[in-house]
């Protein structure tokens, strides 16, 4: 039976009515209009739907809404915008680190969390950590450059 859930997304409180098993991805995209996170596979195998839960990347396509109550949910939209971009967003623009951009939301939130957690990171580490985020256009090396540039800035500070 549908239920009402209170969610905290990008620092804003929301209430949604849906089945408890509804994946977070559909609540974000259809009930709240936050469409940056994308459906890719529905099985947690590609990373296109990644969002941050208390700062850690999760696959929103197989995360039921009941399990995210009382957590801080961050989507790409909450990371920054054109007026106030997150450093990872600026770095993706500087490196032109995408082609179709369908994997970009998942890439950026996952990479932002990664650099937050481990600013002192190597090229090989980035590749290992992003192995679960698939890209078909072949911009991997641009993404690695973008992530390393943000890491270098944050360790320099």
């Amino acid at each position: 039976m549908p239920d009402t859930f209170s969610l905290r997304i990008n620092g804003v409180a929301h209430q949604v009515d849906c089945e408890p098993a509804t994946p977070l991805l559909y609540v974000l995209r259809n009930d709240l209009g936050l469409t940056a996170a994308k459906f890719g596979c529905g099985l947690g195998l590609c990373g296109a739907c990644n969002v941050l839960l208390d700062g850690h990347p999760v696959h929103s396509c197989d995360t039921p809404v009941w399990s995210v109550v009382d957590k801080d949910i961050t989507t790409l939209e909450g990371l920054g915008d054109e007026a106030n971009p997150h450093p990872m967003q600026s770095a993706f623009i500087a490196e032109q680190a995408l082609q179709c951009g369908y994997c970009t939301a998942g890439m950026i939130v996952t990479a932002a969390a990664l650099v937050d957690r481990t600013p002192d990171i190597t090229d090989a580490d980035v590749r290992t950590e992003l192995a679960g985020n698939l890209c078909r256009c072949g911009v991997h090396n641009r993404i690695v450059r973008a992530v390393l540039s943000v890491a270098a800035e944050s360790t320099a500070r």
């Binding site: 995209r29 259809n30 951009g101």
Partner: protein
Amino acid sequence: MADLSPSLTANPHPDMWISPVAGLIHVRTGKVELGQGVLTALAQIVADGLRVRIERVRMIAASTDGSPDEGYTAGSLSIQHSGAALRAVAAAWHAGLMGAAGLAFGVDAPRVEDGTVTAPDGRTMTYWDLPPAAVPTVGTALPAASGVVGTSVGRLDIPGRVFGTRRYIQDLRLPGQLFGRVVRPPSRGARLLNVDETRVRAVPGVVEVVRDGDFIGLVAEREDVAMQAVDLLAAGCTWKQEPSLPDQHELADYLRTAPAERTVLVDQGRSADVRPSVVASFSRPYLAHASIGTACAIAEWQAGRLRVWSHSQGVYQLRAELARWFDVEPSRVTVTHVEGAGCYGHNGADDAAGDAALLAAAVPGRPVHLVWSRQDELGWAPFGPAMAVTVRVTVDDAGLPVHWAQEIWSNGHSGRPSSAGNPPLLAAIHQAGDADSIPSTEPPLNRGGGSARNAVPGYRVPNLQVVSNRLATMPLRTSALRSLGAHLNVYAIEAVMDQLAADAGVDPVAYRLDLLDDPRGRAVIEAAASAANWGSRSSSSEEAGRGFGYARYKNSSAYCAVVADVEVTSRVVVTRLTLAVDVGLTVNPDGVRNQIEGGAIQALSWTTTEQVRFDAHDVTSRTWEGYPIVAFPDVPPIETVIVDRPDLPSLGAGEASLGPTAAAIGNAVRDALGAQIHDLPLTAENLMRSL
């Protein structure tokens, strides 16, 4: 003087392409953004020709309600065709403004700055107050580039994608929109015997169940409800199934022996020798598009009119197909392009539009938004055809080829809607219960060919024969996948070239240069060899290998040469790729690099890893675990050298690097193992088979 672009011949009116509107320049092109960055490159061409800042340029999404009809966005022709058209139209507008301002202000050759001419007395004239009659007929005289073309302008669409504000078709939500899902048959050719709809119709929020022949789907108020309900619907279906697919493990043999239409495409010089010096056979499996997003469409029927939003590569062609299928006048159908996930050829976009249109017919007045599951995307979208190639070469006493024969076996590479004789949309196939679908066709060789694409070696060969065998039946639906037959043909040609070089005791690069007269081809080969330090072995490990690959795409487009470094342990690891490319005048160097490198990584993935798997009934590789693609840890450093030709026409960059990259990797593996690998992908299993 260059010929007019075919796009312009078909759509000659300058105001169809460029309209100055309230301080902005609206640009309509028939070409669509597939993730390749084409709209930015075209905007650069317009800004450059008009002498306006690129910030003023607005690219309008292609739609059948007013865009020029430029056919499909395919074949790496957008810059060649649409770019050339826009360059000529911009030149006409520019000449019109110069002429009118010159006359009004009494000056010779006035200067246009950001769309405005200023007279010595301060009066101004702009594109925005220029009467359309002042714009002359589009001619072929073109002014020199003014500086926007040739620079790495940042892609106009990237900020919107990085901030999550640019809407993909998957994100579009129209007023009153419903959500559709389709149940695909459990195997190829399965017939729907019976459906129990009662449990599905009882689910709150399910609006309609649509059954038409073997097509079955539903429409619901919410997407999550549609997804749950479609599983119930699938469980309520009873199908009649029979095995229909060939043995995947004997695929190359199947291709060579299945009934086929044999065509001699090239027959030049004397016919083949009975005893050629080299005979080598190659194969590749079916390949999936494997975009990160799945196929999607929106359709709405209202008062006998159909509106469709689609990430199709050809809005006019999709319109024609939908009109034919639903038996309505094309003028009653509108198809508008909305960007989807990356497109690498004829994927499920058109099929999804057919699904949405058929479902929407059951709920007139309500738009139906339809998304394919990952399983259907990897299982039901058209595949890049499996192929087999045999090369027979006779050499002279100096070890140079005097006769080259290349024979190819493949299903057709063109299953696009509304091309003459091509298969219908997937929903139409299932609606008609037509298990024996019409097999896909081949584009003619003078338009780049399909399975014979790049089957003609770019090297000096006095006697040449190319034969294609197009399969008369189609076990799995096939259509155009990036570079079409060039992937396996270039792999095969370049593998044989390495063998001939080895037999002659000549360095592979020197051997190629000996047989290549085209100075542009020679320049990219030399550039790649030089950038990679060809000849100097940096690694002495036994597992290491280095290989070369070269081709001019379609024998008429961009030139590309690649050096691959690999290590072969229990599997093939590509450790470095070095590429050189000549795309004529480079419109956007960073955009070209992005396309060339992206193509190289996709080719690496196809060549080392990918294969569609199937049993006697159906495709079994339907998740990312069953159909893996290369991920970050397997992507090597890549260096790309652009050999710029500012005085020569621009050529498309999107597909040039795939064949040469595959070939270079194959030759590097041969170098490491001392044996040619004949069957792709270069998995441990296929390596063992060849050894």
